[in-house]
Subunit: 420 residues, 2 copies
């Protein structure tokens, strides 16, 4: 049989055709399939509707040798995936008594008394010739069908049920059927630069990589507070792809230098956290316009209680003075949004907590509060590490939450650069 | 001509077939189309590939009378949407000199000197019979084509270009072609309840609504820290739909009571913020395991500087004592994660800030730090408003960020219930 190379992913569920819900499973699935050398050539979403789902399935079968469904495997009348797949392939559905038995055990184990509702037995209906994929975290089993050279996989929608089932497929039948050339990716994150200038500087590398074996591809994307350089490589082996990507990462770092803050997709707060932890340093934070976001990002990282000492969120001038010791005349002279006040906040946070690193952020997140001299988006950031203090005034664009994020990113980046 | 009733949305771009990028435009488009009475019956994603995109387009044309494309309208060879649509419909492409002229003006206005690159002229290529949709925020114009009773719309991918163009379509040609029955939605958010029990209590309402005119549909979804009850209604007029939804919302509130915290999709932090603002109250927060997330959520709301006085993030016992006045013997006696300590944190935050409302949160976000008596996810929450104090010990499940979110949600909800 030919190895699987081209996948279509179909997410099933009427809620995915509303303005309220995403298909997030397909991103996870795409990463897993790519690593086996399987490209995703199309994605689709259909509602809980036999006719629409059948149409989309037929369209996918025409283009892909692997069709992966997520969702629509529950016990209700709305769960139509099993039925549509069976009827499209011209197969009949029959009850798998092994599944029914497992459903009964599960039902009883969850403390329900009395007989299992008949509707649950729908989940035991299996198209002729299908292989059952066990679901250890939910009631709906997955299904694996082969039709000529094509494979059709039915998986449940809830991510916590889906993920372990995909892991089992990738380690087992999917790997056996995919002798393709794996596609691996790396995401580099870059701060303090604009897209066009960075792209221009990297052009010679892009041209070199294009001619290389294996070839490395690159694309640069501007995200909030950072640039992302996506690299991908298809090579005969995972090792060869990893080596080519590793070389490319080194070459980018040689050109862009310390503006590259992450070479493995980790966010800024993880990078800064690791620097603090590895040096045994502790950090104290004084936030105004970021309103807690800066400290919340740092404390998203497991183990951050080792290096995040304490933080103060001081919106008012009085709080800045009382909690951080910022002199009232300093605020009077420069305004609350100013580099001298940010420095005094950073120093106050650091000395009051008795730690090595202090950060101060004060600004105007908007939409109100701007003035002609200090428009919305004006943010002063300062960091103080032992004897060294740095500060800078930024002008960020965007909505309130975007200003908050960019300000927190600038503060983390300032600490990172001082610790380099 | 028949009014448009069934839409397919196709997002174009190879980056949307990687593990890294979502199609977010389709959610926005779906809301806009639904409000005109147009259902979205399928969504698809294709890469920058003529053959794949053509296949998906033909599949969509077979099911929908409106096909909306987003993306693939730029100036490069990779931008294939115009070409694929023209060739699939058997039309030729010709340069629209009006567009070329606007592109030249735009190019010059942006300060570029010399002639416009030839590649930009690709954006002026228009299929025979297409109407041009102006793009005031970018170079790629949109296109409107009619083919029999069907309409095909090509729109640019960047949201800031897409949104105003969709607004113009909804006010103009799309509204003229859609005499359908508008579909409106409402999202109610509910705290402190589990899905199955709530669903059961609402069954009589569901049955009543099913028989009503206009009919109201409902579905309940469990989200992190809250339940969401989605209601939707299709009625001959927007007013009639709104009235039916309004009645349904009132009926739900009569059954579920104060557990309904939002009837218009607003998040908990906006609801609590409005309660504080309308009563002229100020809040001070003492966070431990939430690490700033609680205050960051409150300060996401514009105008929150009016009622968020200050906050302290105190991980260590020493910081809890120094910054909040939590007595060391109290921590010794009950442990840092305990209701008495949460109460002392709330009281300390409130009295030290000299405000009316204080909140304290202390817990174990994980993955480390759990014990048999106090496993990961154990969180004590307290709120103190004037003479009244409440506290409660929670056991949350999930990863670190999920525990943080649920703890912040529980704290906000406690304040909300005390202010009712």
């Amino acid at each position: 049989m030919k190895p699987l190379a081209r996948a279509a992913i179909i997410a099933v569920g009427s809620e995915l055709l509303t303005p309220l819900r995403f298909d997030t499973n397909s991103l996870f699935l795409t990463g897993q399939l790519n690593a086996l050398g399987i490209d995703v050539v199309m994605k689709g979403v259909a509602g809980d509707d036999r006719e629409e789902l059948g149409h989309l399935f037929r369209a996918a079968l025409g283009r892909a040798d692997l069709v992966v469904f997520t969702g629509g495997l529950g016990p209700t009348d709305d769960d139509v995936t099993r039925e549509v797949v069976a009827s499209t392939l011209g197969r009949s559905l029959a009850e798998d008594t092994g599944i029914t038995e497992r459903l009964r055990v599960r039902f009883a184990a969850r403390g329900f008394t009395g007989p299992m509702p008949e509707s649950n037995r729908r989940q035991a209906m299996v198209p002729t010739g299908a292989r059952v994929l066990e679901n250890n975290r939910g009631s709906a089993p997955g299904l694996w069908l082969e039709e000529g050279d094509a494979v059709i996989v039915l998986l449940p929608g809830p991510p916590r049920e889906l993920h372990p089932m995909v892991a089992a497929l990738v380690d087992g039948p999917l790997r056996e059927r995919s002798e393709g050339v794996p596609l691996l990716r790396r995401v580099l994150k870059i701060s303090g630069r604009i897209e066009s200038q960075t792209d221009e500087q990297l052009q010679p590398l892009y041209r070199k990589w294009e001619k290389g074996t294996p070839r490395v591809n690159a694309t640069i994307l501007a995200a909030l507070g950072q640039l992302e350089l996506h690299l991908w490589c298809r090579a005969p082996s995972t090792d060869a792809a990893n080596q080519a990507l590793e070389r490319a990462v080194d070459e980018v770092c040689a050109v862009i230098g310390v503006d590259v803050f992450s070479t493995d997709g980790r966010p800024m707060e993880a990078v800064v956290g690791e620097m603090l932890a590895s040096r045994g340093l502790h950090i104290a934070l004084a936030e105004s316009c970021t309103g807690g976001l800066l400290t919340s990002r740092l404390t998203d990282i497991p183990g951050s209680s080792r290096y995040v000492a304490q933080a103060v969120i001081a919106y008012t001038n009085e709080a800045k003075t009382a909690l951080l010791g910022v002199p009232a005349p300093l605020i009077e002279a420069h305004g609350a949004v100013s580099e001298p006040v940010a420095v005094a906040m950073a120093d106050g946070a650091r000395t009051r907590a008795g730690v090595e690193v202090g950060v101060g952020v004060t600004g105007i997140a908007g939409p109100g509060g701007g003035t002609p001299e200090k428009p919305v988006g004006t943010v002063a950031v300062a960091a103080s590490i032992a004897a060294e203090t740095r500060s800078r005034l930024f002008r960020f664009h965007g909505e309130r939450d975007q200003v908050k994020f960019q300000a927190s990113q600038a503060a983390l980046d300032m600490v990172r650069r001082m610790l380099l």
